[in-house]
Symmetry: C3
């Protein structure tokens, strides 16, 4: 299945990028990223227009990238601005593919589709709390040898908690609660709520009185191509207007290739903001729960499935699959619409920068 | 070339299987095996019907397998018997592929063809002496990065002994004896006999008088797809009714993929049954002779040939190739008959268990 | 792109070959080489005609190769001369592909095209100074995971010196000198000359007076498929008939596969012939400059380009690309002519040695 193109993807956490050149494979392309002297993040294809040397083997000269092979320099827009050879003339074709990049909510967003359609109003707004001092975030990224679709399946069906993560979820009010699955526009939401019960382990330890009865919720929201918001919290049942302990976490999937993914998480909580032990618990969960339980399982499934599409393998479906199946259908619909539009479009003019003019 | 399907293959030695889940790739499929509480061996596809997680990443609950991802449980027939989600309803499609398995002669036999044709009367009977107290067996298995066809070539032409295994066969009456090659039904037999000669090294040490003249034989019998019986022995020439020192060994090849194989050996002898030094010599031969001489040679040939069929590469043929060539022809004939029958068969009804019913 | 076939390739340095069997992949084929008892180098396919065992797993018996599997012996022409089995009869088909090999200038030249066209007069003559006592040579070979075409691009455009090798070329009169590119028959020449200037580092240290003004030249000559002669030197400007300090180096590329290459260098100088420090400097350059700067860059480009042809990727062209582009065109022309001739040729008779005659 092709990737959805005209959409923002997360390319990196903001702390991953500095004045060193940084590369990551995104949607099948090697992408070079770095910060300009003023701190602005830029992204372009990691290959020189001349002989296809990875630009990341060169160096930064101010805001420009100098190719390490023959010394061509490209500015932040991908345009060649220095040719140290011969008369120094620079053909208009001498440019590398440039990708719009926006820094927002501590994340670096990249646009790998039609550059004319890049509009930062399209960046999801529901991660804006990451910027607020009322929330403490713990963040990270990792590489998975599995399709983003399989990781989405995992995130959209948390019923696996009681099996794959049984050590983490010994006492969890949600284990047997039915999911309420519905769509909001193109988003798919899976919601579980439990009223008047003892708080699950994750929150109980942070309540003034762990035995007080609480209303609890766990709401996973998915939006194409791979944005997730997990809203989970508790509020004393006897005080509906009282303060809630709450996490509003991002899980974000950016395809590296069709069968590999960079996974970003931002865990945001509105309680115990200065407690390093809670930070450590979150990191421990990511390291063990995600890293040693989810990741090897999902990668084993990828290996088992090979290049095949899930639906072509005739899987059986369970009641807990509702959200994952809806999300896959929604994504397929968006990709099919993109492909139909591309097929209907007039043949585009040759792309500037890739016309060969031999000497 | 497709695999012969409606035939029993050896999946494991009986001691390889216990209450831990055990997996092996057989005929291109990942197969899960384990013993039930009553000791009976069972086999099924190592992938859950739901999201294709390897079942071997889960655990046994009594005689059932619980998938480690979402907790579905399958019984020994591959049928889903526990769905811990929602109303717990289980669709008839919720089953994993089950393979008939029979334990006989210390070997675990699997049927990966049409389940209705599985008949344990089809298991070769000529390994039955492994169960007899008159024979002592030494057994093992190993994995080879080569087609079972190339290993069969090796086993059916033991003239390589004097070159590849020259250190083991310094004095061997058979080195220059012509092979008598013939067919018995679908079996191919390669027989060498030497009358009134000094026993070859392997036996001489176990004769009361190593210098006595003996009649010796070495008979390799092949049957499709990869069963071998090597009958080798000596009997004093002056006592035709006397006791023979004899080995009746199994070499059994089970394709893992088209270019890899699990090789099983059972070395059975009717002499020095309690002599641990003879056991050690046999293991030494398997380790050095087979492991360090045959295996790297055969794997190098596989690498050299790539995916090509032997005959398509126009090999030259020697007098010693008779048995190997006949066996390949016999196997090809059986596979062609299988494919022709499959092509002529009416389109089969959809296989139970793989019909998708989306929520 | 197919390889040019009817041409001599360098298979090895003469010191690489002795009485041990030596193998190297050349033009996609595993080639076995060794020296006969009289020292003559021979080459043949490294696979037995019988069951395709690599002959290099066997042993030399005098001038013959004995296959390590079934003991067939082949003489230096690839003809089977000993069949130890049955009546010992040897079919005319029992031969392995033989490749003409000539030792010249300290290099072992192999002919992998039509054997009838092999003519040692076609071996380039411009490496003959390697045999002269007036030149001191330092030689080596290495394996590159890149097409010989990409390495040729590198050698034909030394303008990369100032970027990729900036530590070696701090002061180099040639950095900004235009290339004079022209063809001589099928050869492509790239020449730079600088008159009346201070010698570049490489030579200055070896001049009696490093500050004397000199005329300097750097001439790279390429000939298909991958022969290079780099003639670089200085001569005092005030003494046009004076002695020149000069290097006349060979760089020779022999494809291993379409995307890998064996690279040979012979560095020949006519000065400081007994100075081990100069030898060490040359080896240092090969180890660092070529090994740690050129090689990883070229291999990264290969990885970036995959199987694609350079021109199909629409590279931009610079003034410094003239020689490389001309060489690629020249080579393409020669290969196209070869393919056209092959297509027009009458169907050839079956090749002796590959006709199967089954028992």
């Amino acid at each position: 299945m092709p990737f959805l193109r005209n959409v923002w993807y997360v390319a990196a956490l903001d702390e991953e990028l500095g004045r060193d050149m940084f590369t990551r494979t995104l949607l099948g392309e090697a992408v070079l990223m770095y910060r300009k002297l003023d701190g602005q993040a830029v992204a372009m294809a990691d290959r020189c227009a001349h002989r296809f040397a990875p630009l990341s083997r060169g160096k930064l000269i101010g805001d420009n990238v100098q190719c390490g092979y023959h010394g061509l320099q490209f500015d932040c827009s991908g345009k060649c601005v220095v040719n140290p050879h011969g008369d120094g003339r620079i053909s208009a074709a001498a440019r590398v593919k440039h990708f719009p990049m926006v820094e927002r909510y501590g994340l670096l967003w990249i646009w790998m589709g039609d550059e004319h359609l890049a509009d930062d109003a399209l960046i999801p707004t529901y991660y804006s709390h990451f910027d607020s001092p009322e929330w403490k975030t713990v963040r990270g990224s990792s590489y998975q040898e599995a399709s983003y679709l399989l990781i989405a399946d995992n995130l959209l069906d948390l019923s696996h908690d009681q099996f794959l993560h049984e050590n983490f979820h010994k006492k969890d009010a949600f284990l047997t609660t039915p999911h309420d699955v519905f769509q909001e526009g193109t988003a798919v939401v899976s919601r579980r709520e439990v009223l008047c019960s003892v708080a699950s382990d994750a929150f109980a330890a942070n309540l003034p009185d762990p035995t007080v009865l609480v209303d609890q919720w766990k709401i996973m929201r998915w939006e194409a191509p791979g944005y997730f918001l997990l809203d989970v919290g508790v509020r004393p049942s006897n005080d509906p207007n009282g303060a809630a302990l709450r996490k509003c976490n991002a899980h974000i999937l950016t395809p590296a290739t069709e069968t590999s993914t960079t996974y970003f998480f931002v865990n945001a909580r509105n309680y115990q903001r200065d407690d390093a032990r809670v930070d450590a618990q979150i990191r421990e969960w990511q390291r063990i729960g995600f890293g040693e339980q989810d990741k090897p399982m999902i990668e084993a499934i990828q290996k088992c499935m090979g290049e095949a599409d899930l639906f072509d393998l005739n899987p059986i479906f369970l009641s807990v699959d509702g959200a994952a199946v809806r999300a896959r259908r929604q994504l397929t619909k968006l990709i099919n619409a993109q492909e139909a539009a591309a097929a209907a479009a007039p043949v585009s003019a040759p792309v500037a920068g890739v016309i060969a003019t031999a000497p």
